[in-house]
């Protein structure tokens, strides 16, 4: 039976020796059509959504594109803009008057900063990017961190100018602190050394740093032109407040996070109260506090300028948020890391410095970056206390007779600038998150 079967099979066997040529896929399954079918019209609901979206996009663009692209770039005032518009396009057509941006570009970016010194904020920004690079990219050599440590003083000096000896005298306080710590530990033990490390530099800053800087400056005057804070404005102001806030709040935030994780009852409770009070109240209230109330809390007679007050307030504000981010990082570390550090016989500070914080901070970086984005956006609130940030300038510009009545152009420009900065930062943070995730797998 099987034979017959095999025989008959053999008789009728046909084996193809060569491959058939590939056939074109059906029209509906290839190229643009397939993509459209799969991505836009896969179901009735999807088709409706697609049509609706196309309509929305068309409606928005048809109203906006002409206004944007027919915009006028060369005029000295809004009146002139309108004349040019009527001349070019006839009466009744609405077009943008971008000339306000070209006319007031300097103010929107640098405020009243002297125009011959624009290189200083630009250089400061480049230096800042260089300084945070080793923090953000772990591949870079660790020695660059020394530059990062020095950068706040360099940036301060570049932006505000004045004698170089001021920032140096202040920086010297940290070297003194380090020396005190090194010499004191063998003599009075660690706790005493820490207290001395805190107390000695503060005494130095309070009583010695100022006169010292003055004396050296008298002997060897090195300095660049001083620029008062009142001259800061526009996007530069937003950057300075945002960056200063985040840099200064990092150490404070880490300390607060450690405090909140601490077993010491009083320190824990103080940290919790501080963090919750700061986070429970909106930034705008804190800014008003900086503007209206800080003078009440300072020693009588002391008075320093609004921008520094704002930076202090913003620093305290973001330190509470950073503390929560870092706390998340600390909590995310496996318990074994803490126990491992203890079993090696490291004391609290050593284990924090060498084992816990490096890991916790690394996983906190995306959170820190998004805190920074939030803070950077929130710098716009300073307009309510009279600082001329970009939105503040949009009001001041519209108060001049030349540009009274300009509206959308300024806001679109400001929005676009914020979008570019914040979006690139958030992309970076997402990239970092992906990278960190693979590390754990």
């Amino acid at each position: 039976m099987s034979d017959t079967h095999a025989e008959s099979a053999l008789a009728t066997a046909f084996v193809r020796k060569d491959m058939l040529p590939e056939r074109e896929p059906p029209v509906a399954e290839k190229g643009a059509v397939k993509w459209l079918r799969e991505n836009l019209f896969s179901s009735v609901l999807n088709s409706i959504l697609t049509v609706l979206s196309v309509f929305v996009i068309y409606w928005v663009l048809s109203h906006v594109l002409g206004w944007i692209f027919y915009g006028i770039w060369d005029a000295d005032s809004l009146t002139q803009c309108r004349e040019i518009r009527d001349e070019r396009y006839g009466e009744g057509m609405e077009v943008a008057c971008w000339a306000v941006l070209t006319d007031r570009w300097d103010q929107l970016t640098f405020g009243f900063y002297p125009s011959e010194l624009y290189w200083r904020p630009v250089l400061a920004l480049i230096l800042f990017l260089g300084a945070i690079a080793p923090v953000l990219y772990a591949e870079l050599p660790r020695k660059l961190l020394a530059f990062t440590a020095a950068s706040p003083f360099i940036l301060y000096w570049l932006l505000w100018g004045g004698s170089i000896w001021g920032p140096i005298a202040v920086a010297a306080g940290f070297i003194i602190a380090w020396l005190v710590f090194k010499t004191a530990v063998p003599i009075i033990g660690q706790l005493g050394a820490i207290i001395a490390t805190v107390v000695v530099p503060i005494l130095y800053w309070m009583f010695l740093a100022g006169p010292l800087a003055g004396v050296i400056d008298g002997i060897l005057p090195i300095g660049i032109e001083y620029v008062p804070s009142d001259d800061f404005g526009g996007f530069m102001l937003a950057f300075v407040i945002g960056i200063a806030g985040i840099i200064l709040s990092l150490p404070l935030g880490v300390v607060l996070a450690l405090g909140r994780q601490s077993d010491l009852f009083i320190i824990n409770k103080f940290s919790v109260i501080f963090i919750e009070v700061i986070r429970g109240v909106p930034l705008i209230v804190w800014l008003f506090t900086a503007s209206l109330l800080l003078n009440y809390f300072l020693p009588p007679g002391t008075n320093f300028d609004l921008m520094l007050r704002v930076i202090i307030m913003v620093t305290l504000f973001s330190s509470a948020y950073i503390a929560e981010v870092v706390r998340g990082g600390l909590a995310a570390l496996p318990r074994g890391q803490y126990e491992g550090a203890d079993s090696l016989g490291l004391d609290y500070w050593q284990s924090m410095r060498l084992i816990i914080l490096p890991q916790a901070l690394k996983i906190s970086i995306p959170g820190i970056v998004s805190t920074f984005i939030g803070l950077f956006k929130d710098t716009t609130l300073v307009v309510f206390i009279g600082l001329l940030d970009p939105i503040g300038f949009s009001n001041a510009i519209r108060a001049s007779t030349d540009w009274n009545g300009v509206y959308w152009e300024l806001f679109i420009f400001i929005g676009l600038c914020f979008f570019i900065s914040c979006y690139s930062m958030s992309r970076y943070s997402q990239y970092l998150e992906r990278k960190l995730r693979t590390d754990h797998r």
Binding site: V54, I266, S426
Partner: protein, 512 residues
């Protein structure tokens, strides 16, 4: 065998405070405590000295002084004769209102955008990405200003509604007007028989609750699933509506006479208001007042409705001249013939409808603006939209992450058990996703509430603008004002996070 000896009982030495770990933590805490207290004392001392130098004191008495300024949106009675404290209260309520509305809408928008961003429709997913990234990366303040401006520029002015061939028209049978001063919607007014309708409504709510209980019991016992949704919906609407309609049919067309101060007997309303323009009116029940004011607006008159609760109040208002036209039940008219407490009154020829148990007062164009109904001011809507859109973008990301965090196997397992897609969503996916979503959602709600303090950018009178703005500015009490403001926000934040944490605990995985 080891011999244990007692540790040497050495006396306490001062250096142990530093070197001995048993005492060291106590030392550190005491030092920290002293330092913090010292700092607080110094701050307090500075405040006292500085206040003294400026000749100011620390006193909350200003809260009881006359405020002198007006607030447009007030949820409670307020006029410029009220106190600063009351102005602050009006502001607090406004803040809470916009925060509440904002949280609801932000959640809806966020869920919507988060789900659509995962849609397999490329265009929709991209549009949602544009929305989310656009709102996340541009400051909220800018959005608030821009949305406010878009709303005022793109909606018609009230006077565009005027005339024969008006440029704009009202929606939904002339009951809703969208203008650039806000959206005017009908306002509910309670008339006679309201109590009955409300009682029926409450009874049907109890009915729904009982039915749901029964349905669940039955499902657990037998596995049958009753159409809970449709039955609930039916119970929710039908009894109340039936009673309302029946009652309306019975009383709505009753005619109530009008009594006017200083009128001649049998005068028409039109003749009367020709002499007494924009009259103040009062009525029993309130729905008759609504019908009267609507009639007056038809005559191009504005009418101030004085709310009265009883016949005695009505009489007193007429006698004192607070209202000059009164609508009332026919059996009360006798008391009003001739004179009320010496004020000459007479019955007009016109009458008004008694009105339904619940009637909606429609907005009507009168004078410069729409009158009647409820005005949702542009400032409220702009702030509400801006806050919801902004927070919604953040919530969308949270929702997306929450949905992605539930593994695909859960859906497949649920299908394998034979659950339908919507039940899979309700019973399997959502409960798991919610656990991931809720903690960050709480902090978004907190952010929204705090961000509502930007209200001043659109002139919405929240607590920051009243207590923290005009009041501080007029009284010069910045220390007291900011302190109260900070306390209010702190308290609100703590309450919101407390309530949400309770909820969070209830949906949390119950671990051993």
């Amino acid at each position: 065998m080891a011999t244990y000896t007692d540790p040497p009982t050495e006396s306490f030495r001062l250096s142990q405070l530093i070197y001995d770990t048993r005492y060291r933590s106590m030392t550190i805490q005491v030092v920290a405590f002293i330092l913090v207290m010292l700092a607080l004392v110094i701050l307090a001392r500075n405040v006292v000295i500085n206040l003294g130098a400026l000749g100011k004191d620390f006193d909350f008495g200003f809260l009881f002084n006359r405020a002198g300024y007006d607030i447009n949106q007030r949820l409670i009675e307020y006029s410029n004769d009220s106190t600063h404290g009351r102005a602050a209260l009006v502001g607090i309520l406004n803040t809470l209102l916009v925060a509440f509305l904002g949280c609801i809408m932000a959640t809806i928008l966020g869920v919507f955008a988060g789900v659509l961003r995962l849609s397999n429709n490329w265009l929709v997913a991209k549009l949602m990405s544009v929305y989310v990234e656009g709102f996340r990366n541009i400051p909220l303040l800018l959005w608030i200003i821009v949305i406010f401006a878009i709303m005022t520029e793109s909606t018609p002015q009230p006077r565009d509604f005027r005339g024969e061939d008006a440029e704009a028209s009202m929606l939904l049978f002339d009951s809703v007007a969208i203008t650039n001063r806000g959206i005017f919607i009908p306002a509910p007014v309670w008339g006679d028989g309201t109590l009955l309708v409300v009682a029926v409504f409450l009874a049907s709510l109890v009915g729904i609750w009982a039915f749901r209980r029964y349905a669940r019991k039955r499902q657990e016992a037998t596995g049958d699933i009753l159409p809970v949704f449709w039955v609930s919906l039916g119970l929710f609407i039908i009894p109340t509506l039936a009673v309302y309609l029946a009652f309306s049919a019975a009383i709505a067309r009753d005619q109530y006479p009008l009594v006017a101060v200083g009128a001649e007997q049998g005068m028409t309303l039109e003749d009367y208001v020709a002499e007494n323009r924009n009259p103040a009116i009062c009525a029993l029940p309130s729905t008759a007042g609504v019908n009267l004011s609507s009639a007056l607006r038809g005559l191009d008159q504005r009418a101030d409705i004085l709310r009265v609760g009883s016949a005695a109040e009505l009489q007193a208002s007429v006698a004192s001249g607070d209202c000059i036209i009164a609508a009332m039940p026919p059996d009360m008219v006798d008391e009003f013939t001739g004179a009320v407490d010496g004020v000459e009154v007479a019955t007009l020829a016109d009458t008004v409808d008694r009105g339904r148990p619940l009637q909606f007062e429609r907005p009507q164009l009168a004078g410069f603006n729409f009158e009647g109904g409820v005005q949702l001011r542009n400032s409220l809507i702009a702030l509400w939209f801006a806050l919801s859109l902004y927070t919604g973008a953040f919530i969308a990301e949270i929702v997306r992450a929450g949905i992605l965090s539930v593994s695909r196997g859960q859906t497949e397992a649920s299908y394998a058990l034979g659950l339908r897609p919507n039940r899979t969503m309700n019973l399997v996916i959502l409960p798991q996703a919610l656990r991931v979503i809720i903690p960050p959602l709480i902090s978004q709600y907190l952010n929204l509430t705090k961000n509502s303090s930007l209200a001043i950018a659109v002139g919405y009178m929240d607590v920051r603008s009243t207590l923290g703005g005009i009041t501080i500015n007029q009284t010069g009490r910045e220390l007291e004002g900011m302190l109260l403001l900070g306390l209010f926000y702190l308290l609100t934040s703590l309450i919101i996070s407390g309530v949400m944490n309770i909820y969070n605990n209830s949906v949390k995985l119950k671990e051993r």
